[in-house]
């Protein structure tokens, strides 16, 4: 997949960078615009994870991009960036509403200069509305959208989801919307203003659950459930069960098959009950039938009986999973001599997953190449560097091969 388009990415944190990473994986020339000191994600990493000084947070969402470091507040920044924008198809930004307007790169300003621009904004809670100015961050939107309230059980209380799922899903929706707008422009010549919010991404992530909830005239009490039950709306045994040496999940399963697989008279006796209305006694009975067994023994029985189950696996297990290896779900990359392991682009196109062809390890490592590509002479670039308008690390010139120029 090699989409011929240029994307200017005024993005930081996760949703925006992850969205433009999908586009970069698909072959778009994504230029990451960063402050001279580097974007937030270069200086912070969840779990304090850095590889040779490079943030794993950066590595998770910025491959296949070029980096341009520039002081957006400098009077000359407008002239430089509009030369880039003139050649661009898409602008993506995830500042809070109004910030880029004040810097001169808001939608109206760009559209006045380039009417067919596709201008995509990702905000926390939308560009307008009563809470538009509130911070939008994954955890907050998990809380705001009911995802935390819907996760966990009576013993645990509400639980947060242990990964930034709202950001990542929001990123995929934003990339999808941008690509659709590019299709539209090819047919109509018109640009599109694309707007996504983390709040709606969090809601979209729960489409099935929310549609059911809204159809039922129920209240939040329906979330109340015993310790094994995995969601408020599935029949038992759907959920998580402890064994002697680990945990497994049971999906939707035929109660007769499950009773036979575990050779349990108690489960046979319960096979005819309403496993939604009486899911707690049923789940407790399943838990008892499983407690004390080993994963290997239960797995063998379940495999033989065609039971839908899966062992709860750690990230280490995922790394050694033969199916993940078969799919090439991870990609190794060299960071200043240290190997890093990245989650690969999740899709295959004609059987092939997009590869990593570059990584902006330093803020501004492609500044020279990008500006040269839109006509700045070397001396002009030197002057801009000397005046502190743009940034380029000293060893940048040799840091990258240059497939785009």
């Amino acid at each position: 997949m090699k989409l011929a388009m240029r994307v200017i990415s005024f993005c930081h944190y996760l949703q925006g960078p992850a969205a433009t990473q999908y586009l970069a994986d698909l072959g778009a020339d994504v230029i990451k615009i960063e402050p001279l000191g580097g974007a937030f994600e270069r200086h912070w990493s969840g779990g304090r994870s850095f590889v040779n000084g490079v943030s794993a947070f950066l590595l998770s969402a910025n491959r296949n991009k070029r980096s341009l470091a520039i002081d957006l507040k400098h009077p000359r920044a407008q002239e430089i960036l509009f030369r880039l924008i003139d050649d661009a198809d898409v602008i993506v930004e995830n500042f809070r509403p109004g910030v880029l307007d004040r810097l001169g790169f808001g939608y109206e300003a760009v559209r006045a200069r380039k009417p067919d621009i596709i201008y995509a904004s990702a905000t926390g809670l939308g560009a307008t509305g009563p809470d538009a100015a509130r911070p939008g961050q994954d955890l907050l939107m998990q809380a705001r959208s009911g995802l935390i309230a819907a996760t966990g059980n009576r013993d645990s209380g509400p639980m947060i989801v242990g990964a930034a799922v709202v950001d990542q899903h929001g990123a995929s929706l934003l990339a999808m919307g941008i690509l659709a707008a590019v299709v539209r422009r090819l047919q109509t010549g018109e640009g599109t203003r694309v707007e996504a919010s983390l709040l709606q991404a969090a809601i979209d992530l729960q489409t099935e659950a929310l549609t059911k909830y809204n159809a039922r005239s129920v209240t939040g009490d329906v979330m109340d459930r015993g310790r094994h039950i995995g969601s408020w709306y599935h029949d038992a045994p759907y959920g998580v069960y402890a064994l002697q040496d680990g945990h497994l999940v049971l999906s939707m399963n035929d109660p007769d098959k499950l009773a036979a697989a575990l050779d349990s008279d108690e489960l046979r006796a319960l096979a005819g009950i309403d496993r939604y209305a009486q899911r707690e006694p049923y789940a407790e009975a399943v838990a008892q039938a499983l407690a004390g067994r080993k994963l290997s023994e239960a797995s063998a029985r379940f495999d033989a009986a065609g039971i839908w189950f899966e062992r709860v696996r750690s990230y280490e297990d995922v790394m050694t999973d033969p199916q993940v290896a078969h799919l090439e779900g991870f990609t190794d990359y060299d960071v200043h001599g240290a190997p890093v392991r990245l989650v690969a682009h999740p899709l295959r196109y004609d059987g092939v997953s997009p590869s990593i062809h570059r990584m902006p390890l330093q803020a501004g490592c492609d500044t020279r190449e990008i500006l040269a590509g839109c006509g700045f002479a070397e001396s002009a670039i030197d002057t801009l560097l000397a005046e502190g308008v743009i940034g380029s690390p000293p060893d940048a010139a040799s840091a990258h091969s240059s497939p785009f120029t």
Binding site: M1, L26, G46, G47, S49, V51, A56, S60, P135, L140, A143, R144, G146, A150, T151, N153, S156, G157, P158, I160, G162, A163, A164, V165, H169, S172, L173, L174, M176, L179, A180, V183, T192, R193, E195, A196, Q200, L205, T207, L210, T211, K212, A215, G220, W232, Y233, D235, V240, S251, Y276, S314, V318, P322, Q323, V324, G329, P346, L347, R348, Y349
Partner: protein, 421 residues
């Protein structure tokens, strides 16, 4: 949003991820034709929690907007001939059967891509088209367990916890729609279609891209889940949700000093920024202890005062009442095909300031069989024969010579597509 209005999508999808992906394409203007068995796709006939609205499964309501429905016996030779003609007129074929099922029906992707070189063929499977797990059941909860998502959710001193909604199916759907649109975009330039493969397994990993990347690249960790009350293995102190006297409040990223100022806790004021992670259990205990003695309103007021990002933990009832959700139009109640109101989520992205309309609420099985077949050249007589022979089925409301545009319930939404356009 008319971006995809020139594209026809045949959706051989069932369950959730595939129908959701097709729905996203329908939202963006594609003519999505759901190809269903004569008895209806799985999601019409099954509803978790056993819930139906005026006879319509809530699973169908969650995935059925902006589609037409064609009911057909895919196993009959006559049915296969009809489908072949539909494919010849389509831009996209998408399916989420287990690997090999389409080939058994005579629609192997390799053959289709050879016969129709401009076709985009998209598969969503549990584990990819091949490999050691290719034939295993792929269902959201199983993938939560396999991908580490269940392992990283919950507390280290308790069991792993399943996420309380089917987030992997939903994310796979967005990725699938993204991949299909990319392939269409490539086709407009190269004239060539191609194949897009999505797996729930990789969607589950992608959904945790930040967390997995941090874990795999040297982030210190001793357990998959947070220890000592810390909500996740990667959180700094204070991050997470905390119980108050009357609910829970979520506290986002901040420093120990800010938390010390917000709650007047001296020990936190003495901590450095580096302690935020190193002393995370202690910080969390201090914050949780203080917050537990306060009301939601008081906690939020003090956090706001200190400039710390926070929000109340809300449930689905709060969400429907949330003024920002209402402002965005994220939840809409419309008149369904039976006349009973149905409440649906909106497409989550705005284009030129508007969310795509629900041009078509979820339809009855076979509601557009007649108009779809007429659209690829079948005469009324031929369609009547196919119906009489039980090859296709039409919903009772659609009789011969009537183009059915079922209720388009939103003012300003585009009219339903007529027959034979």
């Amino acid at each position: 949003m008319d971006a995809l209005e020139n594209f026809t999508v045949l959706s051989f999808n069932h369950f959730l991820a595939g129908p959701l992906a097709a729905q996203l394409l329908g939202d963006m203007g594609a003519d999505v034709i759901a190809i269903e068995p004569l008895t209806g796709a799985f999601q019409r006939n099954w509803a978790v929690a056993g819930h139906y609205v005026d006879g319509q499964s809530v699973n169908h309501l969650a995935t059925g907007r902006n589609k037409r429905s064609l009911a057909i016996d895919l196993k009959s030779e006559a049915g296969k001939r009809v489908v072949e003609r539909l494919i010849a007129h389509a831009d996209v074929v998408m399916e989420n059967f287990r690997p090999g099922a389409m080939a058994k029906l005579g629609f192997a992707p390799e053959r289709l891509l050879e016969d129709y070189p401009t076709l985009v063929y998209a598969s969503t499977t549990g584990f990819g088209p091949d490999g050691p797990y290719a034939l295993r059941p792929g269902q959201d909860l199983l993938l939560q367990a396999m991908s580490g998502l269940a392992a990283v959710t919950g507390q280290a001193d308790g069991p792993p916890v399943a996420v309380g909604s089917v987030v992997i199916d939903q994310h796979a759907a967005a990725l699938c729609a993204m991949g299909i649109v990319s392939a269409l975009l490539r086709r407009t330039r190269t004239g060539r279609g191609g194949r897009v493969d999505v797996s729930l397994l990789q969607a589950a990993m992608d959904l945790q891209g930040e967390s997995i990347t941090a874990w795999l690249n040297g982030a210190p960790h001793t357990a998959s889940r947070g220890e000592g009350g810390v909500p996740t293995w990667f959180s700094a102190g204070g991050y997470g949700i905390h119980a108050t006297l009357d609910g829970h409040v979520a506290i986002s990223m901040t420093t120990p000093q800010n938390l010390g100022r917000a709650f007047d806790i001296d020990e936190l004021l003495d901590m450095s920024e580096a302690d935020a992670f190193a002393a995370r259990a202690r910080i969390t205990a201090l914050v949780a202890g203080r917050v537990a003695t306060m009301t939601n309103a008081a906690v939020i007021a003090q956090l706001d005062e200190a400039g710390i990002w926070n929000t109340r933990v809300e449930d689905y009832d709060d969400l429907a009442a949330n003024p920002q959700v209402q402002h965005l139009g994220a939840i809409r109640t419309l008149e369904g095909v039976t006349g009973a109101p149905v409440t649906l989520l909106s497409h989550p992205v705005q284009y030129d300031g508007v969310l795509p309309p629900v041009a078509r609420v979820p339809q009855h099985l076979g509601a557009q069989t007649r108009e779809v077949l007429a659209g690829v050249g079948y005469t009324d007589g031929e369609i009547d024969t196919l119906v009489a022979e039980g090859i296709v089925a039409c919903h009772a409301s659609t009789s011969a010579n009537t183009s059915t545009s079922a209720p388009a319930s939103e003012p300003g939404s585009k009219p339903g597509r007529g027959a034979a356009t």
